[in-house]
Amino acid sequence: MMKKMLSFIAAFLVLGGALFADVLVKDLGDGNAEVTFLYKGAGNEVVVAGDFTDWQNGALPMAKTDNGFELKKTFPMATTLKYKFIVDGTWLFDAKSPDKTDDGFGGFNGVVDIAKLVAVEKAKASGDSAALEKLMASQSGLKFGTFTQLNVISNFLTRSVQDPTKKGFETDSVQFKAKSYWKLSGTLLPDAPAYIEIRAFDGTKDIYKVSPTGTVTTKAEDGINALATGLLFDPFTYLQGDRPYLGHFKAGVNTSYVNIETAYNWAKPAKRSTIIWTTVKDSDSNAGYLQFTNGSALQSFGDLKLDVGIVPNKTLGAMALRSWVAATYGDYTAEVQWDAKSTAADQTKVTNFFDSFTGDLIAGVKGTYGPISAAAQVIMPAASSTIDKAIGYQANVTYTSLMFGATAKFGSFQPAVSSLYGNNSDDDNIVNNQSFIALNPWVLPMEGFKAGIDSKLNTTYDLKFADKNLINLKPYVSLDFDKLLGYTFTVDAYGKMDLDLATGASETFKFNEAGVKYAMTEVSDIVPSFDVNYGIQMGTVKMFNTLMANLATKPGVNVNLGLGLRTTNDKATQADKDKNELLAFYLGANYKVAALKNGVFYGAFVYNMDPYDDDKDELKMSGYRPDKGIDDMAGYAKFRMGMKWDF
């Protein structure tokens, strides 16, 4: 009895406290449940992005409250959600989510199994310890997930291979494209986490194919025959072209004092973005590692939280090491990271490791004081043989109030500065040989109306403005007519432009891009949402206008359609004009089939443009335009139908 009581208390504490602390569920009694997402960290603008919002495309803004940020949304009871927070543009895994799953990028997505959470609440309310124990047991063990996609794709030419002035419509190939990745994540034993990803198959087979010179290289009869034979008698080998193989693999053991994790080859390390920069990116390039981090008994000392890690690994075939110490006290965090890669000729002796190496030393602090948050970080090369005095640094300060706010940034990176494991290219990361000053003010004069401008001045690391003086500007405005006038729609717009003030710049002002989005919710009983995106992209000799609409329906059919117009400017040569495909369009739809394990059935026809991501049903957007180059798919068309499972 005593044992049962203790286990009940333990289960209650674990499930009711840590696991479900920041996602609440409420049974509405009509087959639906209200889910409340809570975010209690720092930030100005927080949104929830998940599989229920088409991730970033339909991310839902959270309302600011006295305790942080909050969002309530109603879902059918038998729903399992995957989600992340986006805090001021940065994706964050909710460490307090009820459950988690691999996000495919080396990190995790939060998981909310609504029916299970409701069952837990009921078990807690009724004091049913047996039910609660059973639910807790279901939290352990390995969980299966997969991304599987089966596609039939017809590819067409809309202009001739060699003569771009000759337009038309001609079949180029018909393909069967299939990929399947199987993921097992969770715990092998209590305190022994593991993540195993198997590439079951990933391949494309031609059913019919014409070479660019007009030879039919795969006849339809032969292609269909081969496809049928392969799929019927040995599908894995046929589709993979080889046996299924182990992709990512991580396993470890957690003890009170140390957590050990080892990973094989392409297993991505956990991303680190503690202060400003991404100092360890979730890259595939590391050929295995052994990681030691501090265990649960060494993670908290009162209000002080410690994060310590040391990771011997193989980088570019060489012995290497990354290590860090981070301490958080309340709203303040300090971190030091040291990275090294051996440059010894003989990489088979560990004793050679410290003889010669290259690497970097990174240190930083951040904190929040009332409405002001600030962060500073510095990086220096740390090689064994030479002492390079190069340095890179960045400081960010953000002020936030109810009606206005601003972020100011300054960074400077000497040419020899780069991070061994970090991100050396994107915004808010190390970009060697440059300095920048950024200022991002915004105003919120009334609830539902926000406007601001992101500006960034880029120059050389030694501030030679005459050599480089490029200013990126992005003004934007966001209107929520629900809050302004009670109408359930929003309008968001932005523009992107450059001012090049360097001596001898060929073009002082350059307009790059603009976008407007109109989004409606609760349009009618059967149309829960509808949005229209207009985007304009400027190239050197071309401009691409796109109008893209997305319609969701209650029966579960989602429809996308769009139109694109490419035009050339006066810099275009005759060859550019000949190759220009003026008209582009697409039409696609998807439908989740509950009877097929919630597989999504989809189809699309795309002509001279393809805004979809990797032959899937999801649009790949940048702002309110396709995240593709202006000439992407110009001269080609596709019709595809397929099914995918992603859970």
Partner: protein, 156 residues
């Protein structure tokens, strides 16, 4: 499931037989002898010097990144030259160059994707327009890497 597979098969068949003409597949070819990348020493974030690079692409059937299957070249003085000797019939000649990790490592793991050389470091594959000069004219493709890692390619 049967119904969905039947739909897929019917739709694929319709599209396959809807246009079996090949008049627009009128490509000839361009004979590429070498691809040369220079200025690798301009980019300080990664040391290419002395490292073996490999080149791959549709011209090579996207073969696995092994020593046997891909042309390779050692970087010397910031320059590497790959011997291709291949007829290109596609509208664009597409290729990807990346450092090889180790001769002992085969398959997909042979290359360092983080430092692949395309239109930019960490960027897409490199592409140049087919000059359609035919099999009898030797063409070379050259690229120069700038300090920020971007590469400008041209056919000569």
């Amino acid at each position: 499931m049967k119904r969905i597979l039947a739909i897929l098969a019917v739709v694929a068949s319709i599209f396959a037989v809807s246009s079996c003409d090949t008049a627009m597949h009128d490509g000839t070819s361009m004979y590429v002898t070498t691809v040369t990348i220079s200025g690798l020493d301009n980019y300080k974030a990664f040391n290419y010097e002395g490292r073996t690079l490999v080149i791959n692409g549709p011209f090579n059937g996207w073969s696995v990144w092994t020593t046997a299957a891909c042309p390779s070249a050692v970087v010397s003085g910031g320059t590497a030259t790959f011997t291709i000797n291949t007829l290109i019939s596609d509208p664009e000649f597409e290729y990807l160059i990346a450092p090889r990790v180790s001769p002992d490592t085969g398959g997909d793991y042979a290359c360092v994707w983080d430092y692949k050389i395309g239109v930019s470091v960490n960027g897409d594959n490199a592409k140049v327009d087919n000059a359609w000069t035919g099999p009898g004219t030797d063409k070379t493709v050259t690229g120069t890497m700038a300090a920020d890692g971007t590469v400008t390619w041209k056919v000569e």
